[in-house]
Each structure stands twice: as C-alpha cells, then as structure tokens.
Symmetry: C2
Subunit: 316 residues, 2 copies
C-alpha cells in the first residue's frame, strides 16, 4: 500500500469559463467539486491504475464537509483526522477560449499541536503496511517547517522510502531528513537553491540529503539526478489540456515504481506517462488510462553523459 499524506487538503472546485476578463461578471458553464490537495490527487491516480493506496488527511469544517462526502463517493481509500478549523478551497478557472488555467488558492487553517500529533500517529500506525510514504503539498499556515522531516524520519525508521513534493522551507527541511525522492518543479527548485541550472540545483538538493531529485519540467518532462546517474525523460508529444494535477500524477508514477523497486529509467517513464495522461483527464487526479498505456511505451528516456554533456538513448 502507498500511503499519501496531505496536511493541507482542499476542496478543489473547477469552473469552466469563456475568457477570464477582469472587471466583468463571469458565469461558469460547468462547476465540478472534488476532494483535492496534492496527496489526495496522488492517491486518486494510484487508485485509478489499480495500486493499493490510502490517502491520509485532516478534514475540518466549512468546505471539509463537501470534501469528505466527495472522497467517500470516489472510492479512493482514505483516512480522515477530524480538525477544528475550516478546510480550504482551491478554485481552478479553466478558460475554453484561450486554454488558460488560473488558480485561486486559499491558504487553509492551522492545525493545533494535538491535531498534528493525531496526523503523525496515524502515519505511524499505517507505516507497517506501507511500501512508500508520499508527503505532498503545502503545509497549513503556521506549521513547523520540519513537519514533513519528522514524517520522513518516521518512515525511514520503519524501512519505508519517502517521496516529498513540496516547496520552500518545508522542502529544504524535508530534504535534510533524507527522502528517497524529492520532486520539485523548476521554479520550486530555483527558489529553494538560488540556482538557475536545474542539474546544478538538483545536485545541491542531493548534497543536502535527498537520495534522488526528480525535477518536473512541465511539457519537457522530467530530469532525474540520482546516485546511479542522470536521466532525462520526455513525453512523446506535446499535449493540450488541464495541467493542474500533472505534477501529482508524476509523483504517483514515482511512488508506484519505487514500491516495485524499478530502475530509474522505468520510474521516469511511468512518471512522464502518468503525468501526460493526467493532462488529458478533465480534472486534477483524473488520468486517461488508454493514453497512459500507449505513452508508457512511447516516453523517450536518455541517460545524460556528464563527461561530454552528451545524452545517450536508453531503453531498459
């Protein structure tokens, strides 16, 4: 079972609009609501491809009621930690005219010390049946920045590898706890290392404690910096669609292959294939399973030869 933890989940609402024109009255032609937050999206993708998973998340008042109801309906296995604050909402404005995706992200409510402890206790209780721990998304406001680091250390003690997908101080402190993989995107990586070159920045994060750094490069795929080498993986073709949740699908692919102890090229292929399939899914956490099957064979993976900067094709 792959355990995902989402400390700052959200009710994800998607409005389909014409053009997003500021200073006007906009009437969404479609409104979709679902349980969200990055770890919930990861679990949703894992569940869709038949992987045993549990999404662990705190759920509070306000939009928390709708989040609970939708997640129960979805069939994605989950465990809730009930909290006193209001669960936040994130709103995605999808324009059908110019394909822009605009996100309105509420900050969320802080967790009390006791609520954090309950969440950590639940991780501790679930770890013995977990093959991978995924820590995903922002921390709630006023959290200790080492919150993910504590969970990662707990997993390491239980012999469970961790995947960390967050940003800023939570990423830097989490990296120090030695996760198996961190998956920043290019701007998160630049922000937390101060380095423009993704490879140099990924190496800097490895030097700080991460076993491997997989950088998501949007439509250009993934760059992997590992103890066994450096790889680049590219999707077989550019895609148009909803990119919200594509990074979460990549994390699902990473966790899936980490659980199977696959080679890095296979990890990358899976991550890029699921990420592409997610762009074609209508909402964050949806994947086009047929496209995923085809793309898994079509992703281009090449090992980067660091001596002469040459990238050689790899097909294992």
């Amino acid at each position: 079972m792959i355990l995902t933890v989402t400390p700052n989940p959200a009710l994800d609402v998607t409005y389909t609009l014409g053009q997003l024109v500021p200073n006007s009255v906009l009437r969404p032609s479609a409104v979709h609501r679902r349980a969200g937050g990055k770890g919930v999206n990861v679990a949703r993708v894992l569940h869709a491809v038949g992987q045993d998973t549990v999404a662990l998340l705190p759920v509070g008042t306000g939009d928390g009621e709708l989040l609970r109801a939708e997640l129960v309906d979805s069939g994605v296995p989950h465990e809730f930690v009930g909290t006193g604050g209001a669960t936040r909402r994130t709103t995605t404005l999808l324009s059908t005219v110019d394909d822009t995706v605009t996100l309105l992200n509420e900050p969320g409510s802080r967790l009390s010390e006791m609520e954090w402890q309950e969440l950590a206790d639940a991780v501790h209780r679930l770890l013995p049946s977990a093959s991978v721990l995924v820590c995903s998304g922002s921390l709630p406001p006023e959290s200790r920045t080492d919150a993910y680091a504590q969970l990662i250390r707990m997993a390491t003690r239980a012999g469970v590898p961790s995947v960390l997908d967050t940003s800023g101080a939570a990423l830097l402190e989490g990296v120090a706890a030695g996760p198996a993989v961190v998956k920043p995107n290019a701007s998160e990586l630049r922000e937390c290392t101060g380095l423009d070159d993704p490879l140099a920045a990924a190496r800097a994060l490895r030097a700080r404690g991460a076993d491997a750094v997989l950088v998501s490069l949007g439509p250009d795929g993934l760059l992997a910096c590992t103890g066994e080498g450096v790889w680049r993986a590219r999707p077989s073709r550019p895609l148009r669609g909803n990119t919200t949740g594509a990074g979460d699908a990549a994390v699902a692919g990473i966790a899936l292959e980490l659980a199977a102890r696959s080679s890095w090229p296979r990890v990358l292929r899976q991550a890029v294939a699921l990420s592409s399939a997610a762009v074609l899914g209508p909402l964050a956490g949806d994947v086009d399973l047929e496209y995923h099957r085809r793309e898994l064979r079509a992703v281009a993976v090449e090992e980067v030869d660091l001596e002469d900067g040459h990238a050689a094709g790899v097909n294992r």
Copy 2:
C-alpha cells in the same frame, strides 16, 4: 416590517487579491464569506439602518450550511425554507492593484414545485405584517418566469407595495403584475426593452405595468420615471470602493422610503445615499453609516422638465 424574498441566494465569498492575472496562481490575502443574494443584501442594509426587516430565502445543501450559519450570526432577521438542492456560491475577486471587481457567479439549483409553494406560502404568511415586499435577484434555473409576478400579485391583494429588482424574462413578467417600483440598471433596462435611451426605456416599462421605474446609473446615480414626474439624483462625489451590492443598497433605500410613504425626491435621495454608503462598505450589504448620514443631505435631486429638456433643482 420590510419583507425581502431571494429565491436564488448564494454564499458570497470575497477574495482580496493583487492583480487578477489569467494563467497564474493567485493566493487571496483575505477571504470573507457571508450570506448573499440580492434580497439578503437588501435586508442587511435595512437592518444596519435600524429598519425592521425579514429576509426570506430557500437554503439547501453544500454552501447552504455556511450561508445559514453566517446569516444566523449576522443578526439579520430571516426565515429559511429548507430545500434539497445545493445552495450556490458567488465569488467576488477584488483587486487591490487596479480596483477591478470580477464576479464568478454559479447558476444555483432549481427549486421543486413543492419548494416554490413553500416559499410562496411563507410570503403569504408574512405579508400581513409587511409594509413593503422586495423581490430581488435572479430566479433559480428552470424557474417559471412568472414566479415574481405571482408574489407581486399576492402582495397587491394584501395591500402591500412591491419593489422588483431582477432582469430578463423575470423582470418583464414581473412588471406586468404591477409592482410599485422596478429598479433595473441601465444594461438590464436596455436588454429587456431594446431601447438605448434610459428615459424612453423606463417609460416603456411603465407602459407594461410598473407604477414607477427607477434606473440605477452606477456612479451617475438614479433616474426615476413615475406617474408624478421624472427625477434625476446624483451622488455628491465620485467614490472608489466595492460596487458589489451598491444596487441592493439602492433598493433598500427605495423600500425604506416607500414604507414611509415619502415623496419621490426623498426616495431618490435615500437610495443614492445608501448606495454610495455601500460602495464604501467592505463587503456587499455593508454600509458606512456616517457617510450615509452626511450624503443624505448632499445628494443632488433635480426634476427633469420634459417640455424643454431642462432639469430644475428640487429641494423638498
């Protein structure tokens, strides 16, 4: 008591943002939630100025829970009709950079025949203690377009004057029922009459059955076309602020003076003063009471002499 009916209420959420840039991730610096819908805003303003009022509205699932809780907390007297569908949400995006106000309005859920009947029964029960009936806002999806007309006729039979503030077919059919006042804005008026000139369009609505037509002209104030003459009222100065709810505050002013059987110039003065005070209030339904007191003396009202197009100052 002034009775307001809001068949399609909403949880009003206001996000305070920097610039609204499409295709970006926006993090609101402040999030406010309150019970909304035009008739609820009208009741809120009436309550704020000390006028006895009751807001009558259907409330369903989803955001209905938050709407209920907020309205109870607000102290605004209200009566709920419980319904099975989800209550909608409207989101206001307030940019602090360029003062734009962008609205995201969900359509709402349809009311069943039985739910409509319960709402009408509640109006019938409350009318004997009402001095004015206010019918405000859009009808829920799939409503009979004569829904407001039925309520207005019920009020007329009970000897209670009605104020109607809606648009499209609901406005046209409502006008035919003979409300004391309809308050379209310039674009609603143009849309439903096909006439560009506000005075000509207002006369057309009077000819269709409205006793008086008060057209809101945004920052330019109000134009009143009545059986006793035509008046223009202008705020004393241009104002910057949140214009959402300014029209509802104007309706509150109209209802307030209609209940007091005031002269048209007094009705207009009150409507413009409350509307201006609402622009200075942070959220729809808030009014700056001190500004309202001062503006009530400062609004310029002039009678429009139709013979020579000359507008003469009026001070009664």
